[in-house]
């Protein structure tokens, strides 16, 4: 088990498997606004996620992480370059659970199934199965305001999974949770990812979380966002947030991040 940091500049190239990547981001740039006030949020970003791969995206503020996820989700268009998910279904999860406050936990999970016109009996069975997956069967009839932050994120995860997506995009989904809850959710997520063979693109600012979860940790620079490094995580799962290996790699990544922030200070 070796911990090795591979730095790729200026663009990260990832091996593409035979089946083709689940997510392929090629030379994507995104500019907001026009003229003098235009802001280059992403600059020639290239990144791919193999089917079944767990990729963590890390960067200081202003690196366009959330913009990148919006592009992959198809909620926004790149100014130049190309984003492809090969026709796979994509679902998104945010730092806020963004549950619908007027629906119970079960109804929230059910909504994507309604959206695709699944018959009621089938929907009920699917919802029960999904809630069980996130250990929330006992809370099916509770409304979001009756649930804790961790429970709400689990409902949000179940709702994202209900969309039968092969690609899961996660935007700091556990950023607002206490450490104990977050650690448990890491285990839940890891289990689901393995069983369902999901491809996950996971944005976080917590370096250890990235090392804990990712097959690869990709580093983005700030203003404009650019891929400046890539760290494969090659030691065995399940990993601990506080294990020596995790900490060792996290220190390396943090050092690289710091270089990047200092560059902006000068």
């Amino acid at each position: 088990m070796s911990i090795e940091a591979r730095r790729v500049e200026p663009v990260a190239v990832t091996p593409v498997t035979a089946a083709g990547p689940a997510v392929q981001i090629s030379d994507v740039s995104k500019t907001f606004g026009r003229g003098d006030t235009a802001l280059l949020a992403l600059d020639q970003v290239s990144l791919s996620v193999a089917p079944g791969e767990f990729v963590c995206l890390i960067g200081a503020s202003g690196c366009g992480k959330s913009t990148l996820l919006s592009l992959v989700a198809g909620l926004d268009q790149p100014t130049s370059g190309e984003v492809s998910t090969g026709g796979r279904r994509v679902s998104l999860m945010f730092q806020e659970s963004a549950l619908f406050p007027w629906l119970t936990a079960a109804r929230n999970v059910e909504l994507p199934l309604r959206a695709v016109g699944m018959p009621a009996a089938q929907r009920r069975a699917r919802v029960a199965e999904l809630l069980d997956l996130v250990h929330l069967s006992a809370f099916a009839d509770k409304r979001p305001h009756q649930l804790s932050g961790g429970m709400r994120q689990r409902v949000a995860l179940a709702r994202a999974l209900a969309q039968d997506a092969e690609i899961l995009l996660m935007d700091e989904p556990f950023g607002a949770l206490d450490a104990m809850t977050r650690d448990l959710l890491h285990e839940v997520l890891e289990g689901i990812w393995r069983r369902r063979e999901l491809s996950i693109l996971f944005v976080t600012h917590e370096v250890r979380e990235a090392v804990r979860l990712g097959d690869r940790v990709v580093l983005l620079s700030s203003r404009p966002g650019r891929v400046i490094g890539e760290f494969p995580v090659e030691f065995d799962r399940p990993r601990g947030m506080d294990s020596a290996q995790t900490v060792e790699l996290a220190i390396k990544i943090k050092a690289r991040l710091r270089e990047e922030v200092i560059r902006h200070g000068n």
């Binding site: 998104l92 945010f94 619908f100 406050p101 250990h135 305001h145 009756q146 804790s148 448990l184």
Partner: protein, 291 residues
């Protein structure tokens, strides 16, 4: 490598434990009677104080020739309640109110939905709707009488013109405060246009929409009574007609009785709206905000 406890497999037990600790505090479950009393006693107290104040003014002898005391007036009201005329009038006025409000609801909702979603339309008529709302209801009466003649249609028209802008404005304001994140979530689920409306936009704007309805009702009720005072239809007694005839006969106890009836209807409708509002607030988990 030391074993890492945070990576122990089977997190089920730990999750169950956390969930139990995170348990939701029990909700306030008072009986219906208790809740009704809690809502009623401040109103009763206010009523008693108002009657006492009225009696005090009466005792000072202010405008003694025309201003009756509470005792005379309540007697008059009591006897009117035993005659068909008052009930007929209440029936006519309430029927107009319901039909007019239903029309305003449909028109206000359609206009509000369109204006809130279509940008150029918003720029074109957004401020016009607000301006309409500030227009005193009585200004529509001459217009309506010329347009329809002195009949029920004219009265319904006044209700719609006063209630619909408030309803539309409520919906527009609610749509403005729609959390963008919820829209994004709806879109990633594959909800588009009509289904996005049905499953996300409509339920999300419900609380603001209810506020608009309540305001629309208040405006429409103003307009209705104002129009009824002017538009007198033979053989169709209404609360407005009763007020006019009381004025003609200088029957102050009669006039105050009708005003009391109008106030009571207003209070009952307000209670109905509060009931619906309370239900929605509890669903959304914002009931604690209520004073």
């Amino acid at each position: 490598m030391a074993t890492d406890t945070s990576a122990t497999p089977a997190p089920d037990a730990a999750i169950a434990g956390l969930d139990k600790l995170d348990g939701v505090p029990p909700q306030d479950k008072r009986h219906l009677g208790e809740r009704a009393w809690a809502a009623a006693w401040p109103k009763l107290l206010a009523l008693v104080l108002a009657l006492a104040l009225w009696q005090l003014v009466y005792l000072t002898g202010f405008k003694h020739d025309v201003l009756p005391g509470p005792a005379t007036t309540l007697q008059d009201l009591w006897s009117q309640l035993h005659h068909a005329l008052l009930w007929q009038a209440i029936g006519t006025t309430l029927r107009r109110a319901v039909i007019g409000f239903a029309l305003a609801l449909v028109i206000g909702t359609v206009v509000g939905a369109l204006v809130s979603r279509i940008r150029p339309l918003r720029a074109a008529v957004g401020s016009l709707i607000t301006a309409l709302q500030t227009l005193p209801s009585i200004v529509w009466v001459p217009f309506a009488i010329i347009l329809f003649g002195a009949n029920s249609s004219a009265i319904l028209f006044v209700i719609v013109m006063t209630a619909a802008p408030a309803i539309a404005n409520g919906l527009i304001a609610a749509a403005d405060y729609l959390p963008p994140l919820l829209l994004r979530v709806g879109k990633t689920m594959g909800l588009r246009r009509l289904s996005l409306y049905r499953y996300v936009i409509m339920p999300a704007t419900l609380p603001g929409f209810l506020g608009g309805l309540k305001q629309g009702w208040a405006f429409g009720w103003h307009g209705l009574i104002a129009a009824e005072i002017v538009v007198i239809i033979i053989g169709q007694p209404s609360l407005g007609v009763l007020l006019t005839s009381d004025q003609d006969q200088t029957d102050m106890p009669g006039a105050i009785s009708v005003i009391i009836v109008i106030l009571v209807i207003g209070i009952v409708v307000d209670l109905l709206f509060n009931l619906i509002n309370g239900r929605v607030r509890r669903r959304w988990g914002v009931a604690e905000n209520a004073a």
